[in-house]
């Protein structure tokens, strides 16, 4: 059984009124424990709505959402939502609006305090969580003195302190500068590799999606495509039809290939593109016949 299971999940906002809006339409997905999944989609494609289901902030209008075997709708009826929320940590877009306490370490302690952990255990959990995101030095700081990237890392620590097993990040880097973006992505990748935390990353940045093991493309509340980054980005034209881009390196690679250079069609990162071009320069016979003729 997969860790996250969505079966024919649909969600309507303001159901039964004139403004009824079907944000998710018959979505079925399974995510294994320890996976790193990126969710792509244009604005209004339902990716944020999907994220909020994973933490039971929203409940399905129809269909089933199961987290580690717990049905979110059933848990809401029995008052056991906290069991799901403890396992699935959320990080939201705006770094300013998700820190609650006036001191960093108090904020990280907020989740464990809500779970009723004993003070000594909370202290240990907070210390470990802050160390995981390299924010130990800032534990006594007030949140408004931190940069955007640091605030997002504190938000991640807040989830980790609850011993969360899955992080759902809803466009965590959308409001950050390039440095903050790099800090957050480095932290997310490290947590995934070293602690085996399941990551669901919702993003607009294709370079971030390229870091994942699996990419899910959403369009109009449905899953439009699902595969490894290489498989997905190879179909640049299809992605563009959904209002999405491909990473710059992939796009350049595809263009070069179209004009006759023999580069692989599934390049993801700048480094891969560079090494592909270097290989090409070292072995000119790698050029296709057409280009060689053109040169002559």
């Amino acid at each position: 059984m997969a860790w996250i299971e969505l079966e024919h999940l649909s969600h309507c906002y303001q159901a039964g009124t004139e403004q009824e809006h079907r944000a998710l339409d018959d979505v079925s997905l399974a995510v294994e424990e320890g996976a790193f999944v990126a969710v792509l989609g244009a604005n209004g494609s339902g990716k944020s709505t999907l994220a909020k289901h994973l933490n039971a902030l929203l409940l399905p209008t129809s269909g089933v959402c199961r987290i580690n075997g717990l049905d979110t709708a059933a848990a809401a009826d029995t008052g056991e939502l906290w069991k799901i929320r403890q396992q699935v940590g959320m990080v939201f877009q705006n770094p300013d609006n998700q820190l609650i306490a006036a001191v960093v370490e108090d904020d990280v302690a907020f989740g464990p305090e809500n779970l009723g952990m004993p003070p000594d255990e909370i202290r240990t959990a907070v210390r470990e969580a802050l160390a995981c995101v390299n924010m130990t030095h800032y534990r006594k700081f007030a949140p408004h003195l931190l940069s955007g990237g640091q605030k997002q890392r504190v938000a991640i620590a807040g989830a980790l302190a609850m011993k969360t097993r899955c992080l759902v990040l809803d466009e965590p880097t959308a409001m950050l500068d390039p440095q903050g973006r790099a800090e957050v992505m480095e932290t997310v990748c490290r947590l995934h590799e070293q602690q085996g935390i399941t990551i669901v990353l919702i993003t607009h940045f294709m370079e971030e999606a390229a870091l994942a093991d699996r990419v899910i493309v959403m369009a109009d509340g449905r899953v439009a495509d699902d595969g490894t980054p290489r498989e997905i980005f190879r179909k640049a034209a299809a992605l563009k039809a959904f209002g999405l881009d491909v990473p710059l390196a992939t796009e350049l690679g595809l263009e070069l290939r179209a004009s006759g250079l023999d580069v692989p069609q599934d390049i993801l990162t700048d480094d891969e593109l560079t090494s592909a071009l270097v290989t090409l320069a070292d072995y000119p016979h790698g050029l296709t016949a057409a280009t060689r003729e053109g040169r002559g």
């Binding site: 006036a102 907020f110 003070p119």
Partner: protein, 263 residues
């Protein structure tokens, strides 16, 4: 321009007063304030004055900072003194126009002013040596017996915490909005008070809108982190009574008894 606002007047330190449990400080302050109102004789006033002075020294807060807290009330103190000089009946010393100055008036005026000064100094000692966060914890702890009769102790404390967290953020935001408006020609600095107040309306509207949006986001973030109200919640920094608190309580009980006997 708005960036250097600090909330409260907490003076960080590690003196005995800083280390006292905030609940002890709040309750003892309350007793001392009542005690000052019960003082009648010169001796009892003297004891309270010495107590205040000793506490001020123990707090290790610079004297000048402490005395500065009297400044806003300087005129009220002076006014009280003058009113008492002229309005207390007794042996007449001299006459100013139709008002007579009495010896009893001068003594009475002096005591009342001393009372005001002691009240202010003792209260500001609490805020100088206790951070707003600890005061909030103390408030929650002291109000929690009232939960049974419907006092929302936890909710009030949570509101205070969130306010303390967001005041600096909202100040930064005000600053940003004002700069944005100024860059488009808004003028907050000149003109009559009415004019300047009017100029502020376009600042307040976006500020309120964003505050509501923040509140919405924050509520969601709190729920995502398992917030279920005060029931079953623990605290990482739980308040703890230490030996200093017992000493403070023992000393205060003796002092209160002494002052009541001497008053």
């Amino acid at each position: 321009m708005l960036s250097d606002i600090t909330i409260g007047q907490y003076f960080p330190g590690n003196s005995i007063l800083h280390r006292l449990d905030p609940r002890t400080k709040v309750v003892l302050l309350f007793f001392y304030l009542v005690l000052i109102f019960l003082c009648k004789s010169g001796i009892s006033y003297g004891v309270m004055t010495v107590l205040t002075a000793v506490l001020m020294l123990l707090s290790k807060v610079p004297m000048r900072m402490m005395l500065r807290s009297l400044r806003p009330l300087w005129w009220i103190i002076l006014f009280t003194f003058v009113v008492h000089i002229f309005s207390t009946p007794g042996e007449e010393l001299c006459k100013v126009a139709f008002l007579s100055v009495t010896a009893e008036g001068i003594v009475e005026g002096f005591y009342i002013c001393l009372r005001l000064v002691l009240l202010i100094l003792l209260s500001s000692l609490l805020t100088f040596t206790t951070s707003p966060l600890k005061l909030t914890d103390a408030m929650e702890a002291l109000l929690s017996p009232g939960k049974r009769v419907g006092v929302p102790a936890h909710e009030l404390a949570m509101m205070m915490t969130i306010a303390l967290r967001f005041v600096p953020t909202l100040i930064q935001e005000t600053d940003r909005i004002m700069k944005a408006q100024q860059s488009r020609g808004a003028d907050f600095m000149t003109g009559s008070i009415m004019k300047r107040m009017q100029a502020f309306v376009p600042v307040l509207v976006p500020l309120f809108l964003s505050a509501f949006r923040r509140a919405d986001d924050l509520a969601m973030a709190m729920e995502a982190r398992c917030y279920r109200g005060g029931e079953g919640r623990t605290q990482m920094k739980a308040l703890k009574i230490t030996s200093i608190d017992y000493v403070a309580w023992g000393f205060s009980i003796l002092l209160i008894a002494a002052v009541l006997a001497l008053r």
